[in-house]
């Protein structure tokens, strides 16, 4: 699933490890989410979006969701 976590992270001067520590996951998971290899759970997606003061839809792109199934 496409998302703009990398851009948001860079705009907030956060490393992958720092974001992982904040949302309670590992750096590897953040990397996988950023490159679209892993789809975050609803809870993790909420935590990430909440950290950047955005909604889940503003961080994750749900438009091509049906193509991924």
């Amino acid at each position: 699933m496409k998302n703009n976590i990398k851009e948001l992270r860079k705009a907030n001067k956060l490393s992958q490890s720092e974001l992982a520590d904040i949302v309670g996951t590992t750096r590897q998971t953040i990397t996988s989410i950023e490159v679209g290899k892993y789809t975050a759970s609803l809870v993790l997606a909420y935590k990430i979006a909440h950290h950047f003061n955005l909604t889940i839809e503003e961080v994750f792109d749900f438009e091509n969701l049906e193509d991924e199934d």
């Binding site: 992982a20 996951t25 590897q28 759970s41 993790l44």
Partner: protein
């Protein structure tokens, strides 16, 4: 204090107790194996010496590994950042899913392999041995059904 740190501190403290227990058990086993009366149980002196040496080697290797783990755990207990990171690693959703998938694949592969093995054993070794493999497979199937019923009733996704 962060809840994650507190939980992890508790987990690591319990783990250290288990590690200490394991070290005691391993060394006790090593000491028992050093007794001459145990060596005398072997068919030949050479066989007894070999088994004794092998067991002592395994005990030393296990001691080194367990002590290294203990040292790592004690160091982590002093560092809250490390504890929080360890908690995240242990509860990482992607890691948990990968672990579950790996376990599922291993179980499927292992079951098929054991079933094939039971046929080979029945033909070339003994029917009793093959029956025990089939018995073990049946127990696994029953445990799976019980687990499925249990998790269907209790699983909340959290």
């Amino acid at each position: 204090m962060d809840k994650r740190v507190e939980k992890m501190r508790e987990t690591i403290t319990n783990r250290n107790k288990a590690l200490l227990g394991l070290i005691c058990l391993t060394n006790a086993f090593g000491l028992i194996m050093r007794r001459d009366s145990v060596v005398a149980l072997a068919k030949t002196q050479a066989q007894g010496d070999f088994v004794q040496g092998f067991v002592i080697g395994v005990v030393i290797a296990m001691d080194l590994l367990l002590v290294a783990l203990l040292v790592k755990n004690y160091a982590a207990l002093k560092d809250e950042k490390k504890l929080a990171r360890l908690y995240n690693e242990m509860n990482d959703e992607r890691e948990i899913k990968i672990e579950a998938l790996a376990g599922k694949a291993a179980l499927k592969f292992g079951t098929v392999l054991a079933a094939l093995l039971s046929i080979v054993v029945a033909v070339f070794v003994s029917t009793e041995a093959a029956l025990s493999i089939i018995g073990a497979l049946s127990i696994m199937a029953v445990i799976k059904v019980i687990s499925r019923v249990y998790y269907t009733r209790t699983y909340t996704g959290e």
